[in-house]
Amino acid sequence: MRHLVSAGDLSRDEALLVLDTAHEMAGLQQREIKKLPTLRGRTVVNLFYEDSTRTRISFEAAAKRLSADVINFSAKGSSVSKGESFKDTALTLQAMGADAVVVRHSASGAAQRLAASGWVGGSVVNAGDGTHEHPTQALLDAYTMRRRLNAGTGDLAGRRVAIVGDVLHSRVARSNVLLLATLGADVTLVAPPTLLPIGVESWPCAVSYDLDAVLPKADVVMLLRVQRERMSEAYFPSAREYTRRYGLDATRAAALQDSAIVMHPGPMNRGVEIAAEVADSERSTIVEQVANGVSVRMAVLYLLLGGAFDTSKEQQR
């Protein structure tokens, strides 16, 4: 494995290696000097076709703390907005000698296309492709769950995770379902039927339309961002009705077990899918998720660029 395109690409052992490595990275990040020389002389390109400051700076911080050179390539105000094709942009990056390309794109499959095309020689890391996947988000979520629930070790066997909201359009949900299944967690997707994809019953998870029925048993409640424009497409009647049926407010949160945590990949719509008092409560891991994102992305960059998943390289040795 040279690329990280889908959370489903990771075996249980590989996923645990990433999480364990991230754990050590996090330890090193407690020090005064956070920077490690590991990727000195390597170039990581952040190729962002979609605005996502949080994800970009997270990858940028991860690469820089490993001493990689970072080139940020944003589609806005660049040759891309002048009509340069995906292929030509990729070839340009290749000419610059990118050792890794972190790609964010509004088109599902863009990362896989880049990885399979042969246009770039380096590792491709999917930083979110359309409504398909966002594997490093799933890894940082799993890392956060493990820290909070399992003292930072082992897998997530038997842990009950509810993922609530717009599953249909969520790359975070897709990657989380795949990774959490690999790590042994029991996932339940909770959403109005309009926001669940056709065929969701074939996914490795359960499905419910009733949040209140799921909450008392959950160890983790992960809320997905609900975009207001979904209303105009008749996915649900109004934000108010959505909040009433699927929003996590303090009253609902009271039904949770004491140890249960509340997660959100951000950015949040306070007052829609999550009430402010829940987002700011002890249960909330939302800020922690951001910090964990850097450690997890350091681990991913280190392991991919170090060829940890690449068995052919070991044989050459």
């Binding site: 094709s85 292929k87 088109a107 499959g109 399979a116 359309g130 996914w203």
Partner: protein, 436 residues
């Protein structure tokens, strides 16, 4: 095989019409002169084509070809597209109207028709747009196109659905005056906004917006009822779902005057190919499930689907190599259609070669009202003939295709059969598998 393209008499020695017993087919003055006992025919100055072991079929007729001229000559021209057609065994193709400018006036259809005549590789029957600019709002001048030199009989907004029920009704009624037919691209537009692939479990996993079967089936159901109500003739383009087949079966049982086509790719490929996100597999309607493929094959065998039509859709490389969502839908089809019919229909035992002739020549010619095509291989009929060697198996090499574009989904795939020769009114357009 020795042949000189100059002679006007050809003896196809030992050819097997419809895969039957070998005969000598004599083509003279644009017609089939006789079908003599094998090895017996001779004629002064005739060119003898060794057709031993080759199947002879009436020249194929495609109801659905995008020649891209005028407007996208970088992707295909009438010249290159009809070369591809001849190499695929076709003697006539229907050129779809979604060019730039749209073929919605007598002027444009006559231009395309004339370019076809000048190229001379096969007959080009232009399809006229149903609505002005494919806009779905006002009827184009259907009568003028029918009365033009191009003698348009098939009208279609292909690429777009005539979704307005009233407009569709009027179009169906109006073309009765000149025995025309509306070829509907059945796609309910609201249900398919932004659609990228078949809607099902896989689209959910891949995060690609789904194109549900119901969006096709709902339009077909409406249209067959409309056709029944106004007593008109309806043709359904590129049927892609099992449900559509059931509706068509029911409509035909009720005696509604509806015909339908299926593409070769929908008879062979399924949606699982989309998992690569390689846009060469992006097509509209999308590749469907394996059970749809089976149902479509059976429907061709049963005659519920009348014709195999290529939906040959050339696209320039830059429109087919980037992100899936940004790529244009469509696949090449002319040069591989007969091979796929052989693989999907003949080698599966669903059709014999006579059946292939019926679905790829006779019926499409009848639907398009092309009097000189799709005729039986017998004395006195126009000498539109294709010779195919069914024993050969070849890997598809995109670089070797005559089409100006390279977007074949079969690159590297081994397909059966090879078109050895094609005759258009007694004149070879293809000999020895190459343009004559």
């Amino acid at each position: 095989m020795s042949a000189s393209a100059n002679s006007s008499t050809f003896i196809l020695r030992g050819a097997r019409p419809y895969g039957g017993d070998p005969v000598d087919l004599v083509l003279r003055d644009g017609a089939v002169a006789e079908a003599a006992a094998a090895g017996t025919a001779s004629a002064a100055g005739a060119t003898v084509v060794d057709a031993d072991g080759l199947v002879a079929l009436p020249g194929l007729v495609d109801l659905h070809t995008h020649l891209r001229e005028p407007g996208r000559e970088d992707a295909e021209t009438v010249e290159t597209g009809t070369q591809a057609a001849a190499l695929g065994g076709f003697t006539a193709v229907h050129a779809m109207a979604n060019t730039d400018p749209v073929a919605d006036t007598a002027g444009v259809v006559e231009q395309v028709w004339r370019l076809g005549r000048e190229a001379g590789h096969c007959d080009v029957a232009p399809v006229g747009a149903v609505t002005v600019g494919l806009g779905g709002e006002r009827l184009a001048e259907l009568g003028a196109m029918a009365d033009s030199a191009a003698r348009v009989r098939v009208f279609s907004d292909d690429g777009k659905c005539v979704s307005d029920a009233v407009l569709m009704r009027r179009a169906l009624e109006y073309v009765k005056a000149f025995d025309g037919v509306i070829a509907q691209h059945a796609q309910e537009p609201r249900l398919t906004e932004g659609a990228q692939m078949n809607e099902g479990a896989l689209s959910g996993v891949l995060g690609l917006r789904g194109w549900p079967s119901v969006a096709e089936e709902a339009v077909i159901a409406r249209d067959v009822l409309l056709a029944q109500h106004v007593g008109s003739r309806l043709h359904v383009c590129h049927v892609s779902t099992k449900g559509s087949v059931e509706i068509l079966r029911l409509a035909k049982e009720r005696g509604i005057d509806v015909t339908a086509e299926v593409t070769p790719h929908h008879l062979l490929l399924d949606e699982s190919l989309a998992a690569s996100y390689d846009p060469v597999y992006k097509v509209n309607p999308p590749l469907r499930g394996k059970d749809d493929v089976q149902a479509l094959r059976q429907a061709v065998a049963d005659g519920v689907i009348d014709a195999v039509a290529t939906d040959h859709a050339p696209h320039a490389a830059e429109d087919k190599e980037g992100e899936w969502a940004n790529a244009l839908p469509g696949m090449l089809g002319l040069e591989t259609a007969l091979a796929i019919a052989q693989e999907a229909l003949v080698e599966t035992g669903l059709l014999d070669w006579a059946g292939v002739a019926d679905r790829l020549s006779t019926r499409p010619a009848r639907i398009g009202r092309l009097a000189g095509h799709g005729r039986p291989l017998r004395a006195g009929e126009p000498a539109n003939v294709v010779l195919v060697d069914p024993a050969v198996r070849r890997a598809v090499d995109p670089g070797a295709l005559a089409s100006r574009s390279r977007n074949t989904p079969y690159a590297g795939r081994t397909l059966p059969g090879r078109v050895v020769a094609t005759f258009l009114r007694g004149r070879p357009t293809v000999l020895d598998g190459a343009l004559a």
